[in-house]
Symmetry: C2
Subunit: 316 residues, 2 copies
């Protein structure tokens, strides 16, 4: 997208998201390679022609020598351990991640004293599948990619991360960690919890109910097909924000339950849900064009623009 | 599917479901026509070459003269009124419906003394769209179509209804009204309620949250795009069964909420949801082949087979 040379990219963890970042980066012309701890994952990626190894030391030494942008592609429970390796072998590299929560990752990064060149990231894409086999270079096309604008973020790594997101086909949503975590609790983590509950209650009707199930049940439970460990790794580190979202949900459902019991109506829920789904359907992602990374107050201005639904589609 | 001459079919209400029945019946070679109370709906259907009128008296007199199978394609709130017309003008016709609840329709049919030739029906298909414009002859292809086997059901109208469902491309799930209503509360009505709640809680995160929303939110709220009056007409007549399903859901979500609050885990919900979604994905709709309509105890045997996930894919 620009004449600027693309920095090297080193992806640690080549599952669905990390693997897709690697594929998309290579497709966009980056010098990119990866690490996976599983031999099967390494073999699969190599069979597809990608430069993936299982020697974390070699992979990170190469990142340090190439001044690569390191992308943490492992789930939250593995972040602490992999950051120990980064701290030891490539502490000077620019650093981002693709984990579904941002504040816990940022806290861990700070504990490893790697905050200076860290910029949180979260591409909003996925499938119920997981692992390298499910990865694709087009996963992020048209997707939102949250990029952190927390106070103290440095412009050089920020621009690298935003550029990678754009080169992967995504639009950049600038957001600070706490606000990101509260937002995704509502639109990503809560959908997982509701899908699990719907699957259980639906199956409570036995084979008759499951045999009658059609589109509303299929779509409503789709993400319940995600591997349980992955769902826990996605949702549980965001417990406080998810709790708020769950409590809001319980209030709404309890009110609907009560009006259903007393006068056989679902009350205001149906109109409210229709109206908010329509708001989602018609949401306009407007382009942020007047804020240049590094300008005075750029972080706060990008944060405020992101809150109002603004996205970045290109960098000068 | 057989050499037997197809009976005429008269569809009252040509919205998404009724309109699709009319299209599918015509495509399958039935002499079929319809009624719609809206002039716009009539014009649209006629423009597409279908025989639809807005004169209920003429439409029903033709049904009586042709010994047509009458299909009630109107939503629950309109059932009582249209049954008054049927009672007056075509009381001897075989009668079925496509309403999302069965016990309330059956009770209304009995009140109009039309029970002798009535067989409840419910094709499990739909979209968030509504009206004739959304109808398609392929809507029921591969879908389950619940056909009532309540005590006292007569074999002749039952066979007509089952044959129509099969000719529309569906598989027949034999079920009694109460059990149908309890099942669809879990796999059709509850998904609507959860979708509405998710839309509201998600939008509570503002444009930032909606801008970050991806597949899990989109799929989880899809049916919230259904017209609110239609959602109420689908869900509220099934209040008692939906209440049970909602209470089960509230129990699960409250338990998950509590473990999340106390030790940051979602507890057993994730594994249970994954396991039940897998049960749905791998459900085998086995073929009922050894029960012939009219045989000794056929209604009870079909009911029991349906409870165990059996479907009918053809009639002798």
């Amino acid at each position: 997208m620009t004449g600027v040379a693309k920095s090297a990219v080193c992806v640690l963890g080549t599952g669905l998201i990390g693997g897709s970042v690697l594929r998309a980066a290579v497709a966009a012309g980056y010098d990119a390679w990866g690490y996976n701890r599983s031999h099967a994952g390494v073999r699969a990626a190599r069979a597809d022609g990608f430069d993936v190894g299982d020697d974390i030391e070699a992979v990170l030494k190469r990142a340090a020598a190439s001044d690569a942008l390191i992308v943490l592609g492992v789930p939250m429970p593995a972040i602490d351990s992999i950051l120990s390796d980064v701290r030891l072998l490539a502490p000077g590299c620019a650093l981002t991640d693709v984990v579904s929560v941002k504040a816990p990752v940022a806290a861990t990064v700070r504990r490893h004293e790697l905050g200076a060149r860290y910029v949180g990231g979260h591409p909003m894409a996925g499938t119920a599948e997981s692992g390298w086999a499910a990865s694709t270079p087009d996963l992020f096309r048209g997707a939102a990619w949250a990029v952190g604008v927390d106070p103290g973020t440095h412009v050089e790594p920020w621009t690298r991360v935003a550029r990678l997101a754009l080169d992967c086909g995504a639009v950049v949503v600038p957001v600070v960690a706490d606000e990101h975590d509260r937002a995704v609790a509502r639109i990503s983590h809560l959908p997982h919890v509701l899908a699990e509950a719907l699957a259980v209650v639906g199956a409570g009707g036995g084979d008759l109910a499951l045999g009658l199930a059609a589109g509303s049940f299929r779509d409503g439970t789709r993400v319940a097909a995600t591997a349980p460990d992955l769902v826990r790794a996605i949702c549980e580190p965001n417990a406080a924000a998810l709790l708020d979202a769950l409590d809001d949900t319980l209030r709404l459902l309890t009110a609907a339950r009560d009006t259903l019991a007393t006068n056989a109506t679902l009350g205001e829920l149906i109109d409210a849900g229709y109206s908010e789904r329509d708001r989602y359907d018609t949401l306009h992602r407007w382009n942020i064009t007047d804020i240049r990374p590094g300008d005075h107050n750029w972080l706060e201005r990008l944060r405020e623009a992101g809150q109002r639904g603004g996205v970045i589609r290109g960098l000068d």
